[in-house]
């Protein structure tokens, strides 16, 4: 168990010390909420009851208040999937997997450690960025929006669902390259 927790920590440090992690963090933590804020401002300008009839530029009516902001989080999905893919593929660049397997020779433990480390990283990042995006959307909506910190039960429910969706995407991509039988 001690060896396995060391392997998980090893994988966590590897992920968080990589440049791609910080690029993805910047994209989803800073850019996504910023885009959400711009969108929220335009919603506030139109009014939350805007429809294609009142505003021809709209394809459909704005969603109910509890669901506003969820459209912006789609921006972060692609970087997260790319992140999982890059993390998985990076093991095969410059013989990194060989170093990994020399440090921890059990292929199963390395595989398990990678899955858990990716799950932890993507869960944390997804929760933070999705919450930040929804909160900033409601900041942008001004008085018409929900309380940016507390939101609503439905909004929180969808934050967790969206985070779960991303959590399952990125590790899947990351694991594509690193199977227990791989040896580097």
């Amino acid at each position: 168990m001690k060896t396995f927790s060391r392997t998980v920590r090893f994988e966590l440090i590897k992920i968080t010390s990589s440049r791609v992690w910080w690029v993805i963090c910047t994209l989803v933590v800073a850019v996504q909420p910023f885009l959400a804020y711009i969108l929220a401002k335009s919603y506030a300008q139109m009014g939350l009851d805007a429809t294609p009839e009142t505003h021809p530029g709209l394809a459909e009516a704005l969603p109910p208040l509890d669901y506003i902001g969820l459209e912006s989080i789609l921006f972060g999905l692609l970087p997260m999937v790319v992140f999982g893919g890059i993390i998985g593929a990076s093991e095969f660049k410059h013989h990194e997997l060989r170093t990994t397997l020399l440090c921890q020779s059990s292929h199963i433990q390395v595989f398990g450690g990678k899955v858990i480390a990716l799950l932890v990283c993507t869960t944390l990042l997804s929760l933070i960025t999705i919450w930040a995006t929804i909160s900033i959307t409601h900041v942008g909506l001004g008085e018409e929006g929900l309380h940016p910190l507390y939101l609503s039960t439905i909004a929180w429910q969808y934050i967790f669902f969206a985070a779960l969706n991303r959590k399952l995407f990125s590790p899947k991509m990351g694991m594509g390259g690193v199977s227990p039988s791989g040896s580097g």
């Binding site: 060391r6 440090i13 990589s18 440049r19 410059h94 013989h95 921890q104 020779s105 040896s183």
Partner: protein, 245 residues
Amino acid sequence: MTNQPKNIVISHVHKRHGNKEILKDVSFEAKQGRITAFLGPNGAGKSSTLRILLGLDRSTGTATFGGRKYVTFDTPLKVVGAAFDGIGGNLSRKVKTHLKIIAQSNGIPNSRVAEVLKIVGLPDKVNARLGTLSLGEGQRLGLAAALLGNPQYLVLDEPTNGLDPTGIRWFRKFIRQQADLGKTVLLSSHLLSEVEAVADDVVIIDHGKIIATGELHQVMKNLESLEDVFFSLTEEGEAIDENFL
């Protein structure tokens, strides 16, 4: 073949890739306190043997460190230090971070990072990114990683590749010191003159088969250099001779 404590023992190792037999009954021993050079032309099976020894590839037969397989060690870096070609890490990482990650994986204190960088002559590169290191510096970094756990066994694949003359001289001295400390050193190389200057024992492999093994002076017999021995034993030597006729 006896399994002496602190010896590396490779016994009856066979390896196939499809129909091709990569290694044919490879057996030899690297003894404690001695430098064993593992020689052979490109594609002879040197790296494959070392990969099997380090649990990176599967095979039949046994390959052990003091009677134990690599995969049985909980913290392998404290027992075995291995260096292969290539950086073996993310090029955007700093040297310090790269070594700290490796150290952490085996419960080695971070203070050891500065020590090994000093040993291999890279203390100034502590904050350099891996991608900015030269070939020789990359080799030294590989040695630093191998030394992190102060291991009993050193397994080095082509360690002098990319080293300049100063680096090669440094390496000879370094590796001799390690052997004198009682460590078991197994190094593969195709640079025969380099090996001749430093090895105590020699194992020669060709086409996946061990063709000579023993102490350096015994293997050399009456021949002038290790290069002569090598060419007298391998088919490449015969081919070269024929081309000159």
